[in-house]
């Protein structure tokens, strides 16, 4: 069996060491993109067309791509005529934005929830009953009137504004008065330039009673790996963690702009972690700090392992309450995947890892905050045998738990479908 060949456009040592550890070899990208890297400005289409003949020369099994960059789009674009062979896999689905862009995610989950609640039969079948996990959210400026109406119904509520196309807390602010977001109101709508609609925001009900530990707010980061959308096959990594704010929490109005108190991802910056410039404005880059080997911060960096959190919750809130919380978290994971299941391009060459941000409130109820793409913690998101498995050397499903390392199977429709099918004729 030839060794697996890897290729990446994120030359980070945490990735490279990981490939090496797995005994994989550096592959090459072939001719496809070579002209582009030199000329830089030439449009992607022309470049792909120009190189169509040489496509077959590329030589990799495992491509760890940055989704925003040109290479990835070129490969996944239907016009490119690019064909992946059976022995090639890539770490993104082409339209992951359905899940990872804040406004699209909200739209999809809202729609899914309506369908789900209508479908009584389906509801009865699943053990995942917790579906109301998204804080009330509107897209601005589009839903401004709806939002204003909701706001007036409950004028003491606090809301959080988040740009749809940014990450790492950039552009986020908390509001408790409507006039703070006048800019997005109807009167101003006309001046809005929809053409390059840069300033789209989502506004969400702020979870103002988060569970505090040591008087500090925290959120939960969990990792999910999807290897197939239809049927859905997804895994959860055992090693999530919680990220703690640097400052003790309170809801005083004059502290609403203190991001060290309210935004759990900002605290990471305060702990003095290097900015990562490999992928500017790429969602999830801060995560490398979390567990990517080389960027691991020796001091705690405000991160507490999921295991410790559960240990603490067990003692503080008891077995049952903790178990219910964990089940509800699983419910969030499953339903949010189901919400986009039918929309995703189900390319068998693709797999993808998502980071989930979840906030637990004081009543021990989990809320989904967002999904983001995971780009550079391969050791965490790719099971040892994934490449073998997907490169036509036997499926992942149907293997025993031992082979998954730190992964737990979250959902496997492939196996359960098969099981159902084999049961029917009997």
């Amino acid at each position: 069996m030839p060794p697996i060949k890897w290729f990446t456009d994120i030359e980070k040592s945490c990735l490279l060491t990981n490939f090496e550890k797995r005994g994989w070899q550096r592959g090459s990208e072939g001719m496809l993109l070579a002209p582009d890297t030199s000329s830089g400005s030439s449009s992607s289409d022309s470049c792909v067309v120009a190189n169509r003949e040489s496509l077959s020369t590329d030589d990799w099994n495992f491509y760890w791509a940055a989704p925003g960059v040109h290479n990835f789009r070129a490969i996944m674009s239907p016009e490119s005529g690019y064909r992946l062979s059976d022995a090639q896999i890539i770490n993104h689905f082409p339209n992951h934005l359905e899940l990872t862009k804040k406004d699209l995610m909200v739209k999809n989950i809202k729609r899914y929830r309506k369908e789900f609640e209508k479908d009584k039969e389906r509801m009865a079948q699943t053990r995942y009953q917790y579906i109301d996990f998204l804080p009330t959210t509107y897209t601005l400026p589009g839903d401004y009137n709806l939002f204003a109406e909701e706001f007036r119904k409950n004028p003491s509520a606090v809301w959080i504004m988040k740009p749809t196309d940014k990450a790492r807390g950039i552009g986020i602010f908390i509001i408790n008065k409507l006039n703070q977001i006048k800019k997005w109101s109807r009167d101003n709508k006309m001046q809005w330039s929809y053409a390059n609609c840069k300033d789209t925001y989502v506004v969400s009900r702020y979870i103002d009673n988060p569970l505090l530990i040591g008087s500090k707010k925290f959120d939960l980061r969990l990792y999910i790996l999807v290897t197939s959308w239809r049927p859905l096959v997804a895994y959860r990594h055992k090693q999530g963690f919680s990220r703690f704010c640097a400052v003790k929490y309170n809801l005083d109005a004059e502290e609403l702009d203190n991001s060290f108190m309210h935004l759990t991802n900002v605290s990471i910056q305060k702990y003095g972690v290097r900015e990562l410039d490999a992928l500017p404005r790429q969602k999830g880059t801060m995560l490398t700090i979390a567990l990517g080997q080389e960027d691991y911060n020796e001091n705690n960096g405000g991160k507490w392992s999921f295991k410790n959190l559960v240990l603490y919750l067990q003692a503080a809130h008891g077995h049952e309450a903790t178990q219910r919380l964990l089940d509800e978290i699983d419910s969030i994971l499953i339903h949010s995947l189901r919400a986009v299941q039918s929309l995703m391009t189900n390319d068998k060459h693709c797999f993808e890892c998502y980071g989930y941000d979840i906030i637990i409130d004081a009543d021990l109820r989990p809320w989904l905050i967002e999904h983001c793409l995971i780009n550079d913690i391969i050791n965490l998101v790719v099971p040892e045998d994934l490449a073998d498995a997907k490169c036509g050397k036997g499926g992942v499903a149907g293997k025993t738990k031992k082979d998954w390392g730190e992964f737990v199977l979250l959902q496997d429709d492939a196996t359960s479908d098969k099981a159902r099918r084999s049961r029917t004729p009997a």
Partner: protein, 575 residues
């Protein structure tokens, strides 16, 4: 009546703590003890509350004197009622006061009075440690030009109370902030530390026991006559002395005895921390681990309902499910008879908090500094404030002074007569050892509130940790534990011992001393530490620590045997 119950209970107590029966064979001695217990019990408020309740209910039901007697006996017999409380109280009281006064015996216990000699040698070591600590304390006071204690002004007091969670660092000179030594990262071995006494000082003190006598008298008599003593206590002088870094040998428990005493730890039983993580091979269906946890929780609930600290301890030997740990630990530790435990906690907490605001103690600076251990550890950083608060309460708790067998020759627990405003310094009578925060850290996993965490901490400190900080002849004291480690390791795996001590020149005790001293905090992961401490509470002995240390060394034996440098051993022995 109560005296009879207590006398009867005392019998059980005696068995339970594994006292040698003959120590108290004298009937009169037993009676005397029962009287002491009864007096103690009557000094608790809940005795009177309970008595009133019982009297009322019994008088209401009984119509004849005979029936009255029957009812009283029945009421006492109810294990979940008063009987149980008295039981718990007696066990605890015995543990605190009687067991503390016992002494370890020398290895060659032929009645030649060498026991007295060893005790003297231990005392001498304790005195020189004491001198060292006091010298440092005075120097610190001079260097920082701070008195040992200072009454705060009213304004300062208010500021202290207002600062949330004692983040009152105004008095902490910034030059004192040490950031880079913390347990999980190897304790910053060579960092200069601001402390009165650290692990190295303690190790040195332990090694110094009997050293001078040995030097003077040449080789200490190594007469290892191997005649097993009558009864359970074997001697195994055969293992003593052929390599060791200690100069005196005392009786320790052999591996065989440990196997008997800790028989519940045998893998034939199911354990929390092991069997609860079992996953089924099948993709679906319940995990055997979950099934076990569910069953174990049921048993644990029953133990809780019974209110018996004895039942709780029996259960703890197999580990405690995390969800029930706070309550079961309380049951094992908090047997002070109080009418309402939460009220008791709140009252103690408030009282100590006020004390903390009133005085600025020199040792506060040390414990504040020490609390930084937590902030630098990725398992405990969320509890930094709580750890600091717990330690600040601890330094002024006169309760410590009451329950600890304080000894003027032990600086870390001495009745030194400094007094400030006519109250002694520090109020607790205990000076903090470097790393004191480590003991408070795991406790925070159990209790969300500083008050409850503190109560657990102080009880654990009084029962166990104090013994780790003093050189004494107590069984379960630091010296005894070190010796136990050496003996067990030699017996369990002489090859590893030899390889380390002779080939590598690394005394095994040097490697594991910190593990034992800090109860494995910072060595094992938080969850593992709690699982180990479950068992320590269950068996009510620190001897599990050296046994665990030896077990870990044996567990890593292959790596250790392959290692050809001390550094390599240190790396591979760390779990």
């Amino acid at each position: 009546m109560i005296l009879a119950t207590v006398a009867e209970l005392y019998d059980e107590v005696e068995q339970h703590v594994g006292l040698e029966r003959n120590r108290f064979r004298e009937e009169s001695e037993l009676d005397a003890l029962a009287e002491v217990f009864a007096e103690q019990i009557q000094s608790t408020s809940s005795f009177w509350i309970e008595r009133k309740r019982l009297t009322e209910s019994v008088l209401k039901q009984a119509s004849t004197p005979q029936e009255l007697e029957r009812l009283v006996v029945k009421a006492f017999g109810d294990p979940s009622g008063f009987h149980g409380q008295v039981d718990n109280f007696t066990v605890m009281w015995h543990r605190r006061h009687v067991a503390q006064s016992m002494s370890i015996a020398p290895a060659d216990n032929s009645g030649d009075g060498s026991g007295g000699v060893i005790e003297m040698q231990l005392r001498a070591a304790a005195i020189s440690l004491n001198t060292l600590v006091l010298r440092r304390l005075n120097r610190m006071s001079i260097e920082m030009s701070t008195p040992l204690a200072r009454r705060r002004s009213v304004a300062e007091e208010a500021a202290f109370m207002a600062s949330s969670d004692n983040e009152y660092t105004a008095e902490l000179p910034s030059s004192l902030l040490q950031n880079d030594c913390f347990p999980s990262k190897g304790w910053g071995q060579d960092m200069p530390k601001t402390c009165l006494c650290d692990d190295a000082d303690l190790l040195e003190a332990v090694k110094a026991v009997g050293m001078r006598a040995q030097a003077a008298a040449g080789q200490l008599s190594a007469s290892q006559t191997q005649q097993p003593k009558q009864g359970k206590q074997h001697r195994h002088g055969g293992y003593d002395k052929f390599w060791t870094c200690l100069s005196v040998s005392t009786q320790t428990t052999s591996l065989e005895e440990f196997r008997m005493r800790f028989s519940e730890l045998h893998p034939q039983f199911k354990h929390i921390g092991l069997d609860d993580t079992l996953e089924s091979e099948a993709l679906t269906g319940p995990n055997p681990g979950d099934v076990f946890v569910a069953a174990h929780i049921e048993v644990a609930e029953a133990a809780l309902a019974s209110g018996s600290s004895r039942a709780a301890r029996q259960l703890a030997k197999h580990g405690i499910p995390p969800s029930l740990r706070p309550r079961l630990w309380d049951l094992m530790l908090q047997s002070d008879m109080t009418e309402d435990y939460s009220v008791h906690v709140a009252r103690t907490y408030t009282r100590l908090k006020v004390m903390a605001s009133r005085y600025d103690l020199l040792v506060d600076r040390l414990v504040r500094l020490d609390a930084k251990h937590a902030s630098n550890d990725d398992g405990y950083f969320v509890f930094e404030d709580m750890v600091r608060e717990v330690l600040l309460l601890w330094t002024r708790d006169v309760w410590m002074r009451r329950v600890l067998p304080l000894d003027p020759t032990n600086a870390l627990g001495s009745n030194n007569n400094w007094s400030i405003d006519s109250s002694p310094f520090p109020p607790s009578g205990v000076l903090p050892v470097w790393g004191i925060a480590l003991y408070a850290m795991p406790v925070c996993f159990l209790h969300g509130s500083a008050g409850h965490a503190y109560m657990t901490f102080r009880e654990m400190y009084a029962r166990y940790f104090y013994n780790l900080h003093t050189v004494s002849a107590r069984p379960g004291g630091l010296f005894h534990l070190c010796q136990t480690f050496e003996t067990v390791l030699k017996q369990a795996d002489a090859a590893v011992y030899y390889h380390m001590a002779t080939t590598l020149g690394l005394e095994p005790l040097d490697l594991v001393f910190k593990w034992i001293l800090y109860g494995f905090v910072g060595v094992l992961d938080c969850e593992q530490v709690l699982l180990l401490w479950d068992r320590v509470l269950g068996y009510d002995t620190l001897e599990l620590l050296p046994v665990t240390a030896a077990a870990l060394v044996v567990f890593r034996r292959d790596q250790i045997l392959q290692a050809d440098s001390v550094q390599l051993v240190q790396v591979c022995a760390c779990v």
